[in-house]
Symmetry: C2
Subunit: 352 residues, 2 copies
């Protein structure tokens, strides 16, 4: 158990007048890993005095070996309910957006308090060790990319390049890819979440490569775009629009003052100025990165969170012209006391 994090959770408990919190980890085990330090699956129960993980027989041994104690063998929701009662919990915090309806139904004997996003808010501000892990994940991905960069030539297929990059991410110290590596060329690049195909990369195409590494649970996420062959004026202008949108959005961030939505709007207005290509910008500008690849804070038009020191998030403007092309540039920034630090710069070889 990681005591300082459990304590922060208890402060939120007090703030929301709960005497216990249950975390179900339905999407992934990021919260569990954050509070326990162990890579296991299970249910976390924190009350005023103890923090325990309830795990199935599949994880019991590993959880016990890693944590030493506070591990409870549990086979179903009834066991969770009984454990909460045994611990004397009455006012129970639980995230309604990260629990199934079935789970919430099973808790009808408790006074439930919606604990939505509370753990995401804690995880949004990174500790020093977390920052180092994320930087490491970024460097590993960047090093892996350097190994496959010489292969990026017309003729190689999207999937061949993606497979080699995924392999190098592992060979260079990554546990695995942070997410399925994207290599999208030509018209395929107009799909932001393209899955690599047997299509060969061709002369004259933009190639979007979106990749990251995962190390000790922490992730990196970056996107490079290259143009194969001759740089026509039209293509240069499109690339530059995205490049300057990323640059100016990054530069405008004033720690403790700038809101996430303002950064989104800055990128969008830069794209608008440059030929009105903001109409092809169809997603948010960025997202936090940590134990999840996508977490708080989100940089979109609705997000009023103020950007604060020790947040890490992506800045990734993109334009997607259906049937034609796509361009996306994504780097990660760490907010510091007075400015931001870019973690692993995007190559700008296509910018002029």
């Amino acid at each position: 158990m990681i005591k300082n994090r459990i304590e922060k959770l208890r402060e939120k408990m007090t703030e929301f007048d709960c005497d216990g919190v249950v975390i179900f980890n339905i999407f992934n085990n990021a919260d569990l890993r954050y509070f326990t330090g162990a890579d296991i699956e299970g249910v976390l129960v924190v009350d005023r005095y103890e923090a325990n993980v309830l795990v199935s027989s599949l994880y019991y041994q590993r959880a016990s070996d890693v944590l030493g104690g506070n591990v409870v063998l549990s086979k179903d929701l009834d066991d969770v309910v009984n454990f909460l009662k045994k611990r004397g919990v009455r006012k129970l915090g639980v995230d309604f957006g990260r629990s199934t309806h079935r789970q919430i139904e099973s808790l009808s004997d408790f006074q439930l308090i919606d604990f939505s996003n509370k753990t995401l808010e804690l995880r949004m501000i990174k500790e020093r060790d977390e920052i180092n892990q994320i930087k490491r994940a970024a460097y590993i991905a960047r090093n892996a990319f350097m190994k496959v960069y010489p292969m990026l030539k017309p003729g190689i297929t999207e999937k061949e390049l993606a497979d080699e990059l995924s392999y190098q991410i592992r060979k260079n110290g990554g546990e695995k890819e942070a997410f399925q590596t994207i290599v999208a060329s030509g018209a395929n690049a107009a799909y932001p979440h393209h899955i690599p195909t047997e299509k060969p990369i061709e002369e004259g195409e933009f190639v979007v490569i979106d990749f990251g590494a995962s190390v000790n649970g922490y992730n990196s996420d970056m996107t490079y775009t290259f143009l194969m062959g001759e740089k026509s004026d039209e293509k240069k202008e499109l690339f530059n629009a995205v490049f300057y949108a990323q640059l100016f959005a990054t530069e405008m961030i004033a720690p403790n003052r700038t809101k996430a939505s303002e950064v989104y709007k800055r990128a969008k207005s830069e794209l608008a100025k440059r030929g009105g290509v903001d109409k092809y910008f169809i997603h948010g500008l960025g997202h936090g990165v940590g134990l999840e690849v996508h977490e708080f804070p989100y940089l979109n038009v609705e997000s009023n969170v103020v950007l604060r020191p020790n947040m890490i998030f992506t800045i990734e403007p993109g334009i997607y012209i259906p049937g034609k092309l796509g361009i996306r540039l994504e780097h990660m920034v760490l907010v510091k006391e007075n400015d931001v630090e870019v973690i692993a710069f995007t190559p700008f070889v296509e910018a002029m």
Copy 2:
């Protein structure tokens, strides 16, 4: 949209007196892929007359290009609710175990009917093309394994072997691994879901290798166990216990007659007979494999589902002795009209 599958869903709708179903895909997009044929993220709405997917701007273009129509741009839960109303749905089926509480809360204007497991039940019986995809995923994984088998020698680390196997799965036709490849040696093999480490494989150890490929969304899942070096009588007996548990469990299956729980009990009793090692068997005997790596049917002590033709599931007895060793053998079986077909046999080089 895959019409025959949508029709089967409508039959379930009628059976449960719904005039519409909404599928949120909170864990993964397997249901969406099953009913639409497209690898996209979104919400599926099926009513008596139409089937539509509601997607964000991120997936709108791809969904439209793949499906041709029946794609609705939608940004949040309010849009889903409004669309359901526009379609005239009143009695709405929704899976309470595969939807978040927040999602179910947003549907308070409808008469809700719990549609738990209905899609899993449909997907449990595979169509011919699905069987072929799963077999292909199994052959790819097996071929990939043959490429790395020569590297399985004392000195190579768990992670090195796992990385090479994951790479070969992709090079041999897999889109990606079905799940993070497990290589667990010596005492690490006592954790069923071990994550490969820098520990070198050593002489005298059992090495458990659990791996699979993913192709067109369909998965394979198999586990081999090898003994490095000399086969002591004690180790042979342990291996044989698992080997015969798998063999007899597989052989006992009579299509349309045998229940899943009976197969589990057969494996367990075989382990009990052989030195009482059933006490080290800490998980279920198997699970269905398809668009998800773990799906219906589950082979455990509580599962009363009758095993029927065109089900595909794993049979994977294992024993885990904390601090010492682990052994697991996992193959996949396809139930046919009169017998079962083993897909990709487990090597039995350690059995005597």
